[in-house]
C-alpha cells in the first residue's frame, strides 16, 4: 500500500520537573495526509511538536523522518508555524521574510523570487517595504504563513493556524493547506477548532495528559463513536412517543417544524433500523432518515472527560 510514513514517533517521553509532558507517545503520520493533533490545553501537543522541530530533545524514544532518525538537516524539510508566533516589529516585511527563508536554507535570490510569487498571489506586494508594526494582526499572520511554507517543506506543522484570521482569510489559508497536501506535502495540524478538523483532517490523534488516547482516520473514528442514534423526519400525524416502545427504542428528542416532526431515536439491544422503521411506518409518512454521526467536538469532549479522573 503506502510507503514508509513520513513521520514515526516511537515511545516518545518527555518530563519536566514533577510533570510528565509526554508519556510514551507512538504514532505514524502517513505521507501526503493532513494529520490532526488534538488535545486539551496542556496535553503535551506543543511539547511533541517542539521535539519534532528539535527545539527540545525527548528523554526517551525516538522520532523518525522517512524512516531515518531525526537529524539536524531535517529542519530544512519542516515548516513550522508555532501557536505563539510573531515577527520583528521594526523590520520591513520583505526583508524579514527573506531573512527567515534564508535561515531555512534558501539563497537570497531564491527567497526573493519565491516571495514575490507568493506576495503577488496573495495580493500583498504593497506590503513589502512596510514595517511589520504597521500591519494588522491578520496581515501579519498571512506573512507568517508564507514564510512557513516558502521553502516548500515536505512536512508542515501548523499550530492553531487559523487564530487571528477572519472567515475569508481562513478559507483562503484552508484552501492553500489542501493545495499543499495535494502537491505532496504532509500537514500536522494542531487545533482546538473541531469544525476545521472535520473539514480537512484525514487522520487524527487525541492526546491528553501526555498520553495518546485515540488515533485513526477521522471517518473511522466517527463510525466507532456512532451509537446507533438516528434522526427521522416524520409527517402525517403529530409524533407520539408511545408508538415507539421504550426498549429497544429510546426517544432522545423530538421537535416539530411546520407539519414535520424531527425525532432522534436511539436503538438499544438486538433491535435494528428495520425494526424501528417497521414500528413507525403504520402511523407516519417517513420523509427522511439518517444516522446521527457524532461530531468531532463531541467525541473530543466525551473521550477527554472519560479519561480524566473525576476529582473530589
Amino acid at each position: 500500500m503506502r510507503s514508509t510514513p513520513i513521520l514515526r514517533a516511537v515511545d516518545v517521553s518527555k518530563s519536566f520537573e514533577h510533570h510528565r509532558a509526554l508519556d510514551r507517545i507512538s504514532l505514524e503520520i502517513p505521507r501526503q495526509s493532513i494529520f490532526g493533533l488534538l488535545g486539551p490545553n496542556g496535553a503535551g501537543k506543543t511539547t511533541f511538536i517542539r521535539i519534532i522541530n528539535q527545539i527540545l530533545a525527548p528523554d526517551q524514544g525516538r522520532i523518525e523522518i522517512d524512516g531515518e532518525p531525526l537529524r539536524e538537516e531535517h529542519i530544512y524539510r519542516i515548516g513550522y508555524l508555532p501557536e505563539e508566533r510573531g515577527l520583528y516589529k521594526k523590520m520591513k516585511v520583505g526583508e524579514q521574510a527573506v531573512y527567515l527563508a534564508r535561515l531555512k536554507g534558501l539563497s537570497h535570490q531564491e527567497a526573493v523570487k519565491r516571495l514575490r510569487q507568493w506576495f503577488e498571489r496573495f495580493d500583498i506586494m504593497p506590503w513589502w517595504d512596510k514595517k511589520v508594526e504597521e500591519l494588522s494582526k491578520g496581515m501579519a499572520q498571512k506573512v507568517q504563513f508564507i514564510t512557513t511554507v516558502l521553502h516548500e517543506p515536505d512536512l508542515l506543522i501548523l499550530d492553531e493556524p487559523f487564530s487571528g484570521f477572519d472567515p475569508i482569510n481562513t478559507e483562503l489559508i484552508k484552501a492553500e493547506i489542501l493545495k499543499l497536501r495535494d502537491r505532496g506535502a504532509t500537514v500536522i495540524f494542531s487545533t482546538h477548532n473541531m469544525e476545521s478538523v472535520e473539514e480537512i483532517c484525514d487522520r487524527i490523534a487525541l492526546i491528553n495528559h501526555g498520553r495518546k488516547i485515540l488515533e485513526g482516520p477521522v471517518d473511522q473514528i466517527k463510525k466507532q463513536y456512532a451509537d446507533r442514534t438516528y434522526i427521522l423526519e416524520l409527517a402525517g400525524k403529530h409524533f407520539d412517543p408511545a408508538d415507539v416502545p421504550e426498549p429497544p427504542f429510546q426517544v432522545l428528542k423530538s421537535t416539530r417544524d411546520k407539519d414535520t416532526d424531527i425525532v432522534r431515536i436511539k436503538i438499544t439491544g438486538d433491535a435494528g433500523i428495520n425494526d424501528l422503521v417497521g414500528a413507525l411506518l403504520p402511523h407516519y409518512t417517513l420523509k427522511g432518515l439518517r444516522e446521527d454521526i457524532p461530531r468531532m467536538r463531541d467525541i473530543f469532549i466525551r473521550t477527554v472527560n472519560a479519561q480524566t479522573p473525576v476529582q473530589s
Binding site: E17, R50, I78, R85, L87, Y88, K89, K104
Partner: protein, 446 residues
Amino acid sequence: MNKILLIIQREYLTRVKKKSFLILTFLTPLLFAAMMILPAWLAVHNAESNENILVIDRSGLFAGKLNDSDKLHFSVRDISLDKAKENFYKSDYTGILYIPHAPEKENPVLYFKKQPSVVTVQKLETRLENVLREQKLRKALGVSQQQIEQVKADIHIRTVKRDETGGEEAKHNQISMALGMFLSMAVYFFIFMYGVQVMRGVIEEKTNRIVEIIVSSVKPFQLMLGKIIGIALVGLTQLTLWVVLTMIFAGIGQSFLTSRLPQGPDARQLMTQMMQQKVPDSSAVAALAANNAKVGQALEIIGSVLSLPWAKILFGFIFFFLFGYLLYAALFAAIGSAVDTQEDTQQFIFPVTLPLILSIVMMQFFIMNPDSQLAVWMSIFPLTSPIVMMLRIPFGVPWWQIILAAVLLVATFLFMTWLAGKIYRTGILMYGKKASYKELWKWLRY
C-alpha cells in the same frame, strides 16, 4: 555556521541602520572634540586681554613698581579719581585702577569699559601683592632688593621611577591615573551599554513571539551567540567611528583655531619639536629642564606618555574589553530570556552586575594604590578583571598577572556562556511564568 553569520548580519544591520545609532555616532565625537578644543579656544580668546590702565595711586607704594608687560600697560598719573572717571570715555584707557591709601584695608577698585578677563584681574592682584610684599620686606625687615631677588625660587619636582634593573624613567602618575580611569570607564560603559542591548534584543524576540519561529531553524545557542557577536560588532563599529571622527573633528577645530592666531605661537613649534625628539632620554631632558623649566616639563610629560607600557595597554584593552563584554553579554542574554518584560529585569541585573559596580566604586582607591593586594586580586578575578586590570595596566602590571587574568576570563566566559545558554534555551519559550532563582536552577537541569 552559515546561520550564525546570518544572525550576526541581521543583528548588526538592523542596529547600525537605526537613526539613533547614526545620531549617537556623529554627535558624540562632536562632543569629545569640543571637550578637547574648548580649553584651547578659551585659552586663545580669553586668556589675557590687552589693557591700558590708568593707575591712581593714593598709597604711594607703587610708583615705578608697575612695569608694563606685553598685554598690560600702566600709566601712573596723579589726578583725582572723579576727574579720571569723568574723562574715562574720552581717553584711550581701558581701565582705571584706583589704589587707596591703605590697599590692604580698603580694596583697590578697577573701573572698566569692557569686562577684563579673569586672568587679567588675577595677574593684577598678583602684581600688587608682590609689590606690597617686597615693600614690606624692605621697609619692615630691611631686606635689600638684591636679597629679595635671591630669595625667589621656582620649584618643579621630577618624578622618576627606578625599576629593579636600575633603569630610570620619568613618571607622571597623573597620566597613568587618567589613562587607567579612562580605560576602565570605557570598558564599564561598553559592557553595560551593549550588555543591556543584548538583553533588550532577547526580550524583544520573546515579546514579539518570533523566537519559536527562529529556533525551529537554528539552535537557541546559535541565536544567542549570533546576537552577542552582532552587537559586539555594532559596539566596535561605534567605538572606531568615535575615535576616527573625534580625531577628524578635533583636527578641523584645531586648524581653524591656529589659522586664527595672528602671530604663530611658540607652543605649536615647541610641540613639533618635541614630537620629533621621540623618546627623550632622561639626561637630555634634565639638561633641557635646567635651561628651560617649561620645555623640560613638557618634554618629560611626553616622555612618560611614550614610556607607558603601550603593548600591554593595547593588548589588554582589546582583550579585556572584548571578553569582559562577551562574559557579561551571555549573562544579560540569560536574564532577557528569563523575563517577559523589561520591568522584571531589575532583580536579576543587580546581582549580575554587582562585581562591575563594585569595581567602579573601588576605582578611587585602586587608582591611589594600584598594587595593593585587593587591587591585584580583583584584577585577576574574572568578574572584575576587565575593569580593574585596565585600571592597573598603565601603572605597569607584570605579564604573568595579565596572562593569568586573561586565561581565567576566557575560561569563565566559556563556562558562563554554556550556563547562560542552558537558561536561555528554556527561558525563551516560557511565557507568563514569573522566573525566580529557584526556577532558573531548574532550567539548568532540563
